[in-house]
Symmetry: C2
Subunit: 194 residues, 2 copies
């Protein structure tokens, strides 16, 4: 940020009165331009028949992480709820119709000023198709999940927690709600960017 979005004068970093951290403050009209974390909302769309469960993943057609696999997810917009954002992103990226369940993960990625949230979801039908931001969309059983080709740590963590809860469900339990702080990057795990 270089200029005030209200009056076009230059901004400078300074600590406003009564505040305790640097903000972009207009040198002319004194408007304070706060910057805050964003929410990324997505779903875990599953298709379960004859005792076999599969999860819908999207291969990214955009940077960052072009060509890597993700759960459908994206930035929450103004005027919508977290649930509405998860349904919209699943429709936009995977063309998938879902029945949304409970919120399953809330993952802090403070390094990039984001909070990622994923809802449980059931596919209503198999009429899914890649949207503009996806190269392909595919159902994966647990043993076929492309673990080494996942786009983001929050996808990996959400899928790991999901399959761990599936084990508990087979033993009579139910899905939990999980919060975690994510500090690692995918590349830090020894993998080069494509």
């Amino acid at each position: 940020m270089k200029f005030c979005s209200e009056c076009a004068s230059p901004v400078s970093l300074s600590i406003p009165a009564g505040d305790n951290r640097p903000r972009y403050v207009c040198t002319s009209c004194a408007a304070i331009h706060y910057q805050n974390p964003k929410m990324v909302l997505g779903s875990i769309p599953v298709w379960e028949r004859d005792g076999e469960l599969k999860v819908l993943l999207c291969k990214r057609a955009i940077e960052p992480r072009y060509g890597y696999w993700t759960l459908p997810a994206g930035f929450m917009e103004n005027n919508e709820t977290t649930a509405e954002a998860a349904i919209r992103e699943t429709q936009e990226e995977a063309g998938a119709n879902i029945k949304l369940g409970n919120l399953f993960t809330l993952l802090n990625v403070a390094r990039v000023h984001q909070v990622h949230m994923f809802y449980l979801a059931e596919l209503v039908d198999l009429d899914f198709a890649p949207g503009e931001e996806s190269l392909e969309v595919q159902l994966f059983s647990e043993r076929d999940i492309p673990w080494s080709e996942l786009a983001f740590p929050t996808i990996q963590t959400t899928l790991e927690l999901f399959f761990a809860d599936r084990v508990k469900i087979r033993e009579g339990g139910s899905y939990g709600f999980h919060t975690q702080d994510i500090n690692r990057t995918m590349r830090a795990e020894g993998e080069e960017a494509k």
Copy 2:
């Protein structure tokens, strides 16, 4: 938003290629200025001794809702987690030292582009004091909560859910995690703004 924060040229509302909703786009450098919902993080600080539980509330010293009671809460900042934000706001507004528990409520307030979240919390000591944004800070037992003088619907909902879960705990249950969409305003309930 009137001017581009990168180059100071005027912005106009238009739908960028590949997008499906109006954004502020720079008429000169074509930068797209997205606007996204913000997170408000807070806690439910309790002090429990000899079977009696009290909740710490703050009387607001700032607008909106000057003079009304709130749980300590405020906008989440970049470079912090949701839990860190809840602890910081509790320290800043109530001067209170807490041991943070689980996330308790996640409340969508789509009307004002906000998501409010409140964590369970135990006061570590009674050395609390009003911060710059509070007129006073006070412990309330359930019967003394100033229900008609609460600042925001998300405060009312969180406190109602909290005391409902306390009933379940007395019957052997535990605290849940609650999500809700909040559409009402405090003033719509027949109350004039102060």
